[in-house]
Structure formats: structure tokens, C-alpha cells
């Protein structure tokens, strides 16, 4: 095989696979989102109507109309942004000191500490969310402990509400925040901080004026790695959430599995994707800037 041919083959195989199994599926969802929901297999109308001798394009904006007029979708959409956004902030508040602490720890402990952050990621996500049910339930570990200690006299309502969803998202996505922050902070030249100290900066001033601005790319990468998948989260709101924590990912799931409304589910997916295109463009730049 010639070099040019081999080169083409190395590229063509993964390219073709990703086009077929990643790009084309989105185009199909786009197509089905403008079809009409019908009873049948598959449960959507054909886009091109060939009956009556002539071809006619049959576009239906019904799903999108419902998407913007029905409160259910609007609320779920805004909820998803709210839950993902606030959880991202909490991930940052917890993850930044953690990453900073690991960078500052003695060298021989660093890789162990880092490994301990990644390790939960290798165990089942579903089971880690399940663990919080046992902790947060009405007769769960946290309530039992607080009752025994006499801190409270009535069990607190910790599960099936917004609080539980925040805890679940922060817990599940924390490693995604810590890793890019660690990578960024590790690159920081300590001479810069010494220079700041020599010039009369107090430690907190040096942090605000040197460390924090220089760690911005890590903050941005971590925030996007948490925010984007959290917007479409299904497992956490359905296991830890309640009636007032409806998120768009769960709405999509229910439209598909409970209502069998494929065009509506597709319209929800397309709308979610449009919202996420901008942050996804940023993350690609950040990731490719890292390796280039």
C-alpha cells in the first residue's frame, strides 16, 4: 500500500464512522422534529408526500409551536439552565481549592491525591447517585445522625427536591472540574508569585492578581465540562429530584418513552443542541489549544 493511500485509509475509517453515527443522526432528528406525530410504526409522518402524482414537502412546525407556547417545556428548559449553572458555580467553589491544594501538596503525594479524585469516576455513576438516596432519605443517614445528636427534632426534607439535585450534580461532575484546573495550576510558574511577593503583594493579593487570572483557561474548561452535560442530565433529576425539579433531559426521555411522541422528543433535542452549540464551540477550542 502506498503512503498516501494508507494515510487516506487511517483518516477515512474513523471519519466515515463519526459522520454516519454522529452527524447523520442529528440531521435525522432535525428531519423528524418537523414531522407530525402519528399512530403507527415508526410514529411520525413522512416528510415528502408522494401521493396524488406530485411530490409535496410536508413540514410541520407543530412540535416547535408547542415547545415555545407550552409552559412545561419552557419551565423545564429554564430549570435545566438554572440547575446546571448553579451546580457549575458550586463545583468551581469546591473544586478550585481542591485542585490548588493538590498542586501545593508535597510532590510525592500529588499523583496519589490526583488518582483519588479520578477514582470515583471509574466506579458506576448510577451507583454513586444511588448512594445519595441512602444518605438523604427521610430516615436516611444524615437525618438519623442529626436526630441522634439532637440538632434537629423533625427529619429534614433533603430528598426529591432542588437541594438533592444540586448535591447530585456537584458530586457527579466534581472530577471534571478538578482535572483541568489542576492541569492549569500545575503549569503556573512559582517565580511569578515570588516576584509578586517581592514587589509587596500580600498572598491574597498575589492570588487575585496573578494566580486567578492565569488559571482562567482551566476554569473555563472545567466549567464547560460540567455545564454542558449537566444541562441534559436525566439520571440525577429522575432519581434525586421531585415534581419541582423538572429538567429538559427528563422531559425528552418522557416524551420518547412515555408519550411515544418522537417528533416532540426530536424538537426538544434540537432546541437543547442549539442552546449548547455556543459553549460546545468554546470547549473545542480549549481542548485543541491544549494539544496543539
Amino acid at each position: 500500500m502506498s503512503a498516501a493511500l494508507r494515510r487516506r485509509a487511517v483518516l477515512a475509517l474513523p471519519y466515515a464512522w463519526l459522520v454516519l453515527f454522529f452527524l447523520v443522526p442529528f440531521l435525522i432528528s432535525l428531519k423528524i422534529s418537523v414531522a407530525e406525530s402519528v399512530i403507527g410504526i415508526p410514529p411520525y409522518s413522512a416528510l415528502i408526500d408522494a401521493s396524488g402524482g406530485s411530490w409535496r414537502l410536508d413540514l410541520s412546525g407543530e412540535s416547535y409551536h408547542r415547545l415555545v407556547t407550552d409552559d412545561l417545556y419552557v419551565v423545564a428548559y429554564l430549570n435545566a439552565i438554572k440547575f446546571a449553572g448553579i451546580s457549575t458555580v458550586f463545583c468551581l467553589l469546591l473544586g478550585y481549592p481542591l485542585a490548588y491544594g493538590i498542586v501545593r501538596a508535597p510532590r510525592r503525594f500529588r499523583s496519589l491525591l490526583l488518582l483519588l479524585v479520578i477514582l470515583p469516576f471509574w466506579t458506576s455513576f448510577l451507583i454513586r447517585v444511588y448512594a445519595w438516596i441512602g444518605l438523604l432519605k427521610e430516615n436516611g443517614l444524615i437525618n438519623n445522625a442529626l436526630l441522634t445528636l439532637g440538632v434537629i427534632h423533625q427529619p429534614l426534607l433533603l430528598l426529591n427536591n432542588a437541594f438533592a439535585v444540586y448535591v447530585g450534580i456537584v458530586y457527579s461532575y466534581l472530577p471534571f472540574m478538578v482535572l483541568p484546573l489542576y492541569a492549569q495550576l500545575e503549569k503556573l510558574d512559582p517565580a511569578l508569585l515570588e516576584a509578586a511577593a517581592d514587589l509587596g503583594c500580600r498572598p491574597w493579593q498575589a492570588f487575585l492578581r496573578v494566580t486567578l487570572p492565569l488559571s482562567m483557561p482551566g476554569i473555563a474548561a472545567g466549567a464547560l465540562l460540567v455545564f454542558i452535560p449537566a444541562v441534559g442530565e436525566f439520571v440525577i433529576p429522575s432519581l434525586l429530584g421531585g415534581p419541582d425539579t423538572l429538567m429538559i433531559g427528563k422531559v425528552l426521555w418522557d416524551e420518547f418513552f412515555a408519550n411515544h411522541d418522537w417528533p416532540m422528543a426530536s424538537a426538544v433535542a434540537v432546541a437543547m443542541l442549539v442552546l449548547l452549540l455556543l459553549p460546545m464551540g468554546f470547549i473545542r477550542r480549549l481542548l485543541q489549544g491544549e494539544t496543539a
Partner: protein, 268 residues
């Protein structure tokens, strides 16, 4: 950097690791609880492990999940290595921007979107080409290969970027053919990244609930699907026992990999 941890950082490290490991520890402890109530301690027992051994639904699902995960990780290793190699080594080609997007987008794409659109693809393919007939292990594996390819590509690309090319150049100067250089020099040097990529793709596949639910058929219920439905029915200590077995497997793998790497380091 001065290796000084302020009290504040000490506290944050302690809080951070307690937050990460507290829930996991509670799972393990209560897997040995004699009581069905997950939260009341009634003495040590291995009852739930015995019951897990006799749970055929879970075992059946675990076998299906393993089969899918091995297939998906191997397929993703092949495609992901090619993709990572192309991105790192082929600086210019037509459609590079699109290719870069297709490789990185699955990493962050919400699973409900990927799952739904893949299902719609499989349905459309079945309608027009008559293949795949229905959905099952094959369609789940194809979906997981797509996801895993992205992860393997990123890991391999990073490894290739950090790698000294003078060895490859020396081999080429000495007259080795490019393909032989790849097999004898490049492949052994990126082997740790390949192993990490395979394991990552394997774990992702084993863990996935959402994409598998969309792309599965009636005879292909995976382990996460069984776990999810049993959690919805109520908390069961059997799930705690299963979680503990998961953790033991991960711990064995990680320490094994650590030993192997240290052994290789000391060989040099």
C-alpha cells in the same frame, strides 16, 4: 512552588475528599447490614451477597453488559487510535475542522441527545436498507463505539503530542518502512495511552444507562438498566453489595496497573 499548605487548603482537601468518598463508604458499610432497611444497622451479614449470587436477572444483564463493553472498547480503540493519530500527525487535510468537531463533540454531548438521534438513525436504516433488524446488542455496541472513539482519540492525541519523534526519525533514516516504524516504535511508546483509552471506553460502556436505553431492544437489557429499574422500585441492599463488588474490581485493577507501571519504570 513552596510546598506549604495553608490551614485553609488543608481543610478544603479534607472536605473535598470526605465529600467524594463519604457516600461510597456508606454504600460499602451498609452492604454488610443484616437489615433490609439500608439505614438501620442490625449487625454484620453477607446475606445480600448471597442473594445477589442468586439474582439471575442481574447476572444475565451483567453478561450482556460485559459483551457489549468488550466489543465497544475494542472497536473504539481501533477507530480512536486512527482518529487521534490523524489529528496529531496530519496537519492539513480537507475537512479537518469538521473532523475535529466530530471527535470532541461526543465528549460533552448530553446523553439524551446522542441516544435519541442514534435510535432514529437505526430506525431509518432499518426502514431504507432493512438493516439492522430490530435493536439489540449490536446497536448498543455501535453507539458505545462512537462515544468511546472520542475518548480514545483525545487520550492518544495527547500522548502523541508529548512524544519524542526523533526515535521515529532515526528508524526511518535507518531504512525502516513507515508501517514498520509505526509497529515497532510508535505503538509500544503509546501503549500506556492505548491501555488507558481501552479501559476508559470499557468503563463508559459498562456504566451507560441513557444511550443504551434508547438503542436497546427487548432481549438486550444491560446491567445499568436493571440497576436503574430496581432503584426506582426502592432502595435494595443488593445494589449496595453490587456496588461493593464494583469497587473491589476497580481497586484491584488500579493497584495492578500501578504495580505494572512501577515495574516497567524500574526496568529502565
Amino acid at each position: 512552588m513552596t510546598h506549604r499548605l495553608s490551614p485553609f487548603l488543608w481543610v478544603m482537601l479534607a472536605v473535598g475528599y470526605a465529600f467524594l468518598y463519604g457516600p461510597i463508604a456508606s454504600l460499602v458499610v451498609y452492604s454488610f447490614n443484616a437489615s433490609r432497611l439500608v439505614t438501620v444497622w442490625a449487625g454484620f451479614s453477607t446475606h445480600w451477597y448471597v442473594e445477589l449470587m442468586h439474582n439471575e436477572a442481574i447476572q444475565q444483564a451483567a453478561l450482556i453488559s460485559l459483551e457489549i463493553a468488550v466489543t465497544a472498547a475494542s472497536g473504539a480503540l481501533l477507530l480512536g487510535t486512527m482518529a487521534g493519530y490523524a489529528l496529531q500527525r496530519y496537519r492539513r487535510f480537507r475537512g479537518r475542522a469538521l473532523f475535529g468537531t466530530l471527535v470532541t463533540a461526543p465528549l460533552v454531548m448530553p446523553e439524551v441527545i446522542t441516544g435519541l438521534s442514534l435510535l432514529l438513525l437505526f430506525v431509518a436504516l432499518e426502514q431504507t436498507l432493512g438493516w439492522p433488524r430490530g435493536r439489540g446488542i449490536l446497536t448498543i455496541a455501535a453507539a458505545h463505539i462512537t462515544l468511546g472513539t472520542a475518548y480514545v482519540a483525545v487520550v492518544v492525541e495527547a500522548r502523541l503530542a508529548a512524544f519524542d519523534r526523533s526515535l521515529e526519525e532515526a528508524a526511518l533514516d535507518l531504512g525502516a518502512r513507515p508501517f514498520k516504524v509505526f509497529l515497532v516504535i510508535t505503538l509500544p511508546l503509546i501503549a500506556p495511552a492505548l491501555a488507558a483509552g481501552w479501559l476508559l471506553a470499557f468503563t463508559l460502556s459498562l456504566d451507560d444507562l441513557v444511550i443504551a436505553s434508547f438503542t436497546s431492544g427487548p432481549s438486550s437489557t444491560t446491567l445499568p438498566m436493571v440497576i436503574f429499574s430496581s432503584i426506582r422500585l426502592g432502595v435494595s441492599p443488593q445494589i449496595n453489595a453490587l456496588a461493593t463488588l464494583f469497587l473491589v474490581a476497580v481497586a484491584v485493577l488500579v493497584t495492578g496497573a500501578g504495580r505494572l507501571m512501577r515495574a516497567r519504570e524500574s526496568e529502565r
